[in-house]
Subunit: 220 residues, 2 copies
DNA sequence: GCGCTCCCAAAACGATTGTTTAAAACACTT
DNA sequence: AAGTGTTTTAAACAATCGTTTTGGGAGCGC
């Protein structure tokens, strides 16, 4: 079995280590030694550590945006000008997210990286992601807007981010949560199992009644 | 105006920098220079950087657990042996969380630190938090269990963590989200406003219908 | 005075970090 | 087979990291 490309070996190793330990906590020496390439290979092929981080993300997000745009195209074609139901939109997004890393069986890594992109400051990363992949998200949220016409714009904005937090937080902290869950409930937890559990929760959250008017923190 | 204690100055500065940049990305030199104390002061007063991190968390979590236990005591006394409704439990938790950092007006920092505790690997931190403050959470979840008797144990466990993700993600990324929200909707966003929006969402999520059976997609 | 404890300050320590250099090895065309 | 451009290698670089050492001074009891 022939060894993969040097760049590929670096990317494969880097994404795993980044997902496990974060960016700053993962040294180039750790990556290169585990990938069995020379230390200088990272700077030679990618230019810098920052560029390597962005390359790791691009390898996930480029196929994702492609597939997601295609999926939304197909949906809009199927529904013509009718409103696409919220459940269908969410289902399609979930399917697309799940499809991307299926090739390398690394959904956990993908989610963990997304979580890191939010939690670790890394200004350059957030900028890179926003500029590169913001378009498909605004397209998605516009479709969600038409699917939930009764929701005020601000309310929908916040609820979408609530749910984004739910998904990213859960799937990115998966290992820690898995440990607790399997320790408490002696139950094997798979990612697909979690996605199944997430669906009704997200739908119910988006369709929740509007909040009451502000009230001083009342007991009772 | 008298300067605060050296230890207090270190803690005040460290918690802000940790929240902004993460643990590994924040050097002791950055902390000590901004706090206007000597570099060696951290190792002298706290012993190590790890211990400083834990001290930052303890300063938030110790008052929190105290108040939360007290609040649950009061609730159990008021409701005697009757079941405490889910809304009341959530409302009490929110109130307690909001009360802790009110003294320093640093809810954002508190939430961001909680998010980091989950996302950054930092094995020692998770262990420390689990061992030190796990008790009050198991007490809370037991009350939630009685408030949601129809929910399977595993389902409730996951939904609680879903909602934890919602809250921590939203409130810890608050600054970035606020910018987007106020830019798109020209609306002033306050923490209390967000908590008001969160309540119906969280309640609806916890009361969502149970998920369907696993669909026959392939496994990992 | 002395001894003792506590706190602070400057400097140095050894280790590790990302990056660069310069030469060797390779692949491929002519 | 020679030459050319690309890739790999080992070594060194400068910077930064957490930590330790050393010594000095402030306060207090005796």
């Amino acid at each position: 079995m022939a060894q993969p490309d040097t760049m590929t070996r670096i990317l494969d190793t880097a994404e795993v280590l980044f997902a496990e330990r974060g960016f700053a906590e993962t040294s180039l020496r750790h990556i290169t030694s585990k990938a069995q390439v020379n230390l200088a290979a990272v700077n030679y092929h990618f230019g810098s550590k920052k560029a390597l981080i962005q390359a790791v993300f691009s390898r996930y997000l480029d196929p994702f945006t492609g597939r997601f745009h295609a999926a939304l195209d197909a949906l809009e074609a199927r529904y013509e000008n009718r409103v696409i139901p919220l459940e269908v939109l969410l289902e399609n997004m979930a399917t697309t997210v799940l499809a991307v890393p299926a090739e390398r069986n690394s959904l956990k890594v993908f989610m963990r990286l997304l979580g890191l992109a939010y939690s670790q400051a890394q200004g350059h990363l957030r900028r890179h992601i926003q500029e590169q992949y913001g378009g498909v998200f605004t397209r998605f949220t516009e479709l969600v807007r038409r699917a939930t016409p009764d929701l005020p714009d601000a309310e929908r904005f916040w609820r979408l981010h609530f749910m984004l937090g739910t998904v990213i937080f859960t799937l990115s902290g998966l290992d820690a949560l898995k440990d607790i869950a399997e320790q408490d409930y002696a139950e094997q937890v798979t990612v697909r199992d979690l996605v199944r559990r997430l669906r009704p929760v997200v739908v119910a959250a988006m369709n929740a009644p509007l909040p009451d008017d502000m009230s001083p923190t009342q007991e009772d």
